[in-house]
Point group: C2
């Protein structure tokens, strides 16, 4: 920063006032083409870079972004992690008068999502981070935002056809493929592998399909001898997950060596296996939620695949900050690192 050129110097060189330079720099018009050109030439020649510190201090502008994500609950604590990352970023950027406004919806209830979008539009923010569980409603909503010139960032998943500023999410197919690779390492040849997908009725199952596709594609493409069998179980919302039984699918079918759970609910299988004292089945699941952690620790779950939920949140905020405050270009599509967690390394995973 030392020795850097300032607006005042540009003004002197161009024979105008600082105010005029500022007008040119911010393209607020009201400047003759002639002086504009003169100033821009100097700006480019001397490679002027604005001092964001001074700019932030002088402009009393404050930025408020809206966060629209599922509420975390006891039965689904996953969403606490993105939230943590978002709050951390908010905290770090508070100097810049940059703050967030949180709206949590129930991801099994479309109406709650709608309600929150209305609340946000009542008081339009400068930017938006949204986890889009309901396709159609999200589509409507972000179109409204676009009309209002509110840049929006997707986390977790995205609507590809919309004009989003940035996306931080997972490579679901690859995650499934990686799971298969790990499974292949840890089960014997000619093994039978179960893929068990337990979803609540209204759940967004896009990621899950892709994970399963990725999983299967590994065993298709290699010269593998394992047999894959799929079980989809959709559970009415009223039903507790603990009520599910697998006697028919797991206990009675012999020769099962491994189970892959392509969503957050590996712990349900782990609990079942523990209760039934079935000890020779390998288990791979997703997401470091508390219940899964416990079974990782016990060795019931062998691997969990994760994609940095806290970092997704953190980076989404930083992307909006870079765009709004620093006027920097931001990367559009960002697939997060695929992490393999075991009993030995999951403890480091909670911090950002």
């Amino acid at each position: 920063m030392k020795g850097k050129i300032t607006i005042k110097e540009i003004a002197t060189l161009a024979g105008v006032s600082a105010g005029t330079v500022d007008r040119v720099l911010h393209k607020r018009g009201e400047v003759s083409q002639e002086t504009m050109d003169k100033i821009m030439k100097i700006v480019h020649d001397l490679e002027y870079e604005p001092n964001v510190i001074a700019s932030s201090l002088a402009s009393k502008k404050s930025y408020s972004i809206a966060i629209l994500i599922p509420a975390f609950t006891k039965s689904n604590p996953y969403w606490f992690q993105p939230l943590e990352g978002i709050m951390k970023a908010e905290d770090e950027l508070a100097h810049f008068d940059f703050s967030a406004n949180y709206q949590f919806y129930d991801f099994t209830d479309e109406e709650s999502f709608k309600d929150k979008t209305a609340l946000i539009l009542d008081n339009p923010p400068d930017g938006l981070i949204v986890a889009p569980f309901f396709r159609q409603e999200t589509q409507h909503f972000v179109e409204e935002c676009e009309k209002l010139n509110i840049p929006f960032v997707f986390i977790d998943s995205r609507l590809k056809t919309t004009n989003y500023l940035s996306y931080f999410g997972q490579d679901s197919f690859n995650g499934g493929y990686l799971s298969a690779k790990l499974m292949n390492y840890i089960v014997p040849e000619h093994a039978k592998i179960l893929v068990v997908s337990i979803a609540k009725t209204l759940e967004n199952t896009n990621h899950i399909k892709q994970r399963i596709d990725g999983f299967k594609s590994f065993f298709d493409s290699d010269e593998n001898t394992q047999k894959i069998e799929l079980i989809h179980q959709t559970v009415p919302d009223a039903m507790k997950l603990q009520d599910i039984h697998f006697d028919q699918s797991i206990n009675l079918s012999n020769n099962i060596s491994g189970i892959f759970v392509p969503n957050t609910r590996a712990f349900i299988i782990a609990e079942y296996l523990e209760r039934k004292q079935i000890n020779n089945i390998r288990l791979i699941g997703y997401d470091l939620i508390r219940q899964n952690m416990a079974y990782l620790e016990k060795g019931r779950i062998d691997f969990l695949i994760c994609q940095k939920p806290h970092l997704q949140g953190y980076k989404a905020v930083v992307a909006l900050f870079n765009h709004l405050v620093l006027k920097k270009k931001v990367n559009k599509d960002n697939l997060m690192q695929l992490d393999i967690l075991t009993k030995e390394n999951y403890k480091y995973y909670t911090e950002i």
Copy 2:
């Protein structure tokens, strides 16, 4: 930031000038005990928090930190990664007049380290990041720094007895243990496993010892049937690593199912196995350097263990920034996440 209390308001409330408040806030003395107490009471009651943006702008103070790390080379590209992280942080903090001064030493040459420490002390920085390869020299150096009140941060490893501000590094023992767990998954029972440690003569081998200890401890503690065999190979600096041969240890001893390389040089083994067309040996190593990447891709290396070298660098810079500029407390000991990399997920690992 909106509605926050300012120095001016405190001054008014205390019936003094802003300058006096500033003196109290920065403990620069020359203030009577009485007014000091009055001001501090207001500061605490109203929970005043300084505006770092304004502070940074007003104080023409600039910060320069010294970076003392090994040079990366073709044969040892590892150190490029911490450097990348450091430069990224430097870039982000440039607004605050925060910059770094780089000194790269040859980690096989103690004299080069000494020379660089002298250079740094010639022009004392405001803070220091150092990767301590030479125990004794580092000890001397950081003692000098302490006398000069220069806070120092260790990355990669640390001298525990020194009074460092912060450390970002690895949990070597656990990394070895995790490697063993993975190895145990992928080799058959009653297998023979080789631990091959190839080091240059003068190399710091502290981490490596701990990794090996961790590795062995897994097989000790479990009811495992595998046999572990150690090979230490110290290579004169003049000798190229490619010159090493393993015929005796690998080729001739039968029944080897897995090889663990507790440092960066798994690629040497991979190259050997490839050349000899030995295809049934599993290989686990460390660090995502270019050569290892190639063999991960080919499937010659099954797993690489990494501990976020770029993040170590990045976080070390941020720690000094927090300490020097924001006057925030920083965490002293920070063990980085242990990452398991495979052919399927290493590609996401290069960015920060």
